[in-house]
Subunit: 247 residues, 2 copies
């Protein structure tokens, strides 16, 4: 799969495109890369390493799950601060001025040309590629659930989270409920967003619901991934397989 | 806008792309054209002129409304019998074997290669173009409602319809309800599909709902369009403007 290239980084990548498993995995916030043409948006090094810029650990987890489920994986190649792939272009959080405590000066005075360029070069190619991946599997009659893989910070606006796994869904709760019920080994919450997480998943709304695909968004606490990502993946993969099979 | 070309016909066309009105108009079933590379699918001339192949009058109505609302218009350039643009690729009605009383022999034994080719050459480019049209308007901050324009046959499975205008919606009923309420000059039904119309509009589900756009699908009885299309358009346009403004 050829992805458009921004600077030296692909805007997105597809791995294991021909995977025969019954899921497609998406990792929108995989990367904290700022390609030269976008610059670092005036952010500090601290911001660029933080959850504001990407979901630490999410790409490695998504890759491990894709291997175990033999699923295609599509992941973003640039920081979400340039254009958040899980937000529509007109959402204030698509090109945020502030993300939690982090300021993004380079997003402060965007012209319409700036916005259009990001939409055309980042948002549209990613979603067109995911759309093609799904449509082609469906045309071939392949069973396909849509899983999105995220991580969340144990500390959010100064508060510590004890939750380890969040599972969220769009219109059809079947897969998310099945997974949340089965995930007894994790401290799990179903559809319990963090304080400011009110928009839902654009990826699920845009790709899963209109195609009637079973779906779930997974969010793992990132300190758990730091400690033992292979262990988390090994525990999650059979739960996902089971929930997909039952859904 | 360059559309991919199938034979001599564009797979889709965009007119008035820079329209400044507060709507985008879609006409999925605009054409009964069968480009050489697809052939006529073994259909009879009667089938190719019927509602099975397209929505007679819908394109001209959509054009008249687009002019009056200064709206961009995207329309399909090939018969829906090759790939119905208002259906996902895995819907049985996307490449139907039978449509009402009409047999479509050329859809009977499609290989996976045939299906993939139609998805890649027809379904995906159309939806990618509509997606780009909407995303770019949203990035520019332009108010955008999504209207899809269809026609229906006064005779359906042998029964005559007295209804003149059907208005349907996906998740957000606001615009459709407003329009149905205002359309007192027409015999109007809200969300009252015909007997087999059970899938909803894929276009609305795929483009309007994930972007939180106000939306409606309009279906006009085609004998009314035959008789006085300009008159219907002139009556509908202000109703649409009013409903969009109020929604």
């Amino acid at each position: 799969m050829d992805a458009p290239v921004s600077g030296l980084a692909p805007v997105f990548s597809i791995e294991n495109e021909a995977g025969r498993g019954a899921a497609v995995i998406v990792c929108e916030h995989a990367s904290n890369h700022f390609a030269p043409e976008w610059g670092d948006l005036g952010t500090t090094a601290k911001t660029r390493k933080s959850h504001a810029a990407f979901d630490p650990g999410a790409l490695d987890l998504a890759r491990a799950l894709a291997r175990q489920l033999d699923a295609p994986l599509i992941s973003g190649g640039l920081s979400r601060l340039i254009h958040d792939l899980d937000r529509p272009p007109h959402a204030p959080t698509a090109m945020p001025i502030v993300s939690q405590v982090h300021k993004i000066p380079g997003n402060r005075e965007l012209t319409t040309t700036d916005r259009l360029r990001r939409v055309r070069q980042i948002y549209l190619p990613f979603h067109a590629a995911l759309s093609a991946l799904l449509a082609e599997r469906l045309a071939l009659g392949m069973p396909t659930a849509l899983l999105t893989v995220h991580s969340f910070d144990p500390v959010y606006f100064g508060l510590h989270h004890n939750v380890e796994l969040r599972v969220l869904h769009d219109a059809d709760p079947t897969l998310a409920r099945g997974l949340a019920k089965a995930a007894t080994g994790f401290s799990t919450r179903l559809n319990e967003p963090s304080g400011t997480w009110i928009e839902g998943s654009h990826t699920l709304a845009r790709h899963a619901t209109p195609l009637h695909l079973r779906h779930a968004m997974l969010e793992l606490r990132s300190d758990l991934l730091d400690k033992d990502l292979p262990g988390i993946a090994a525990r999650l993969a059979p739960l996902l397989s089971g929930a997909i099979g039952a859904a």
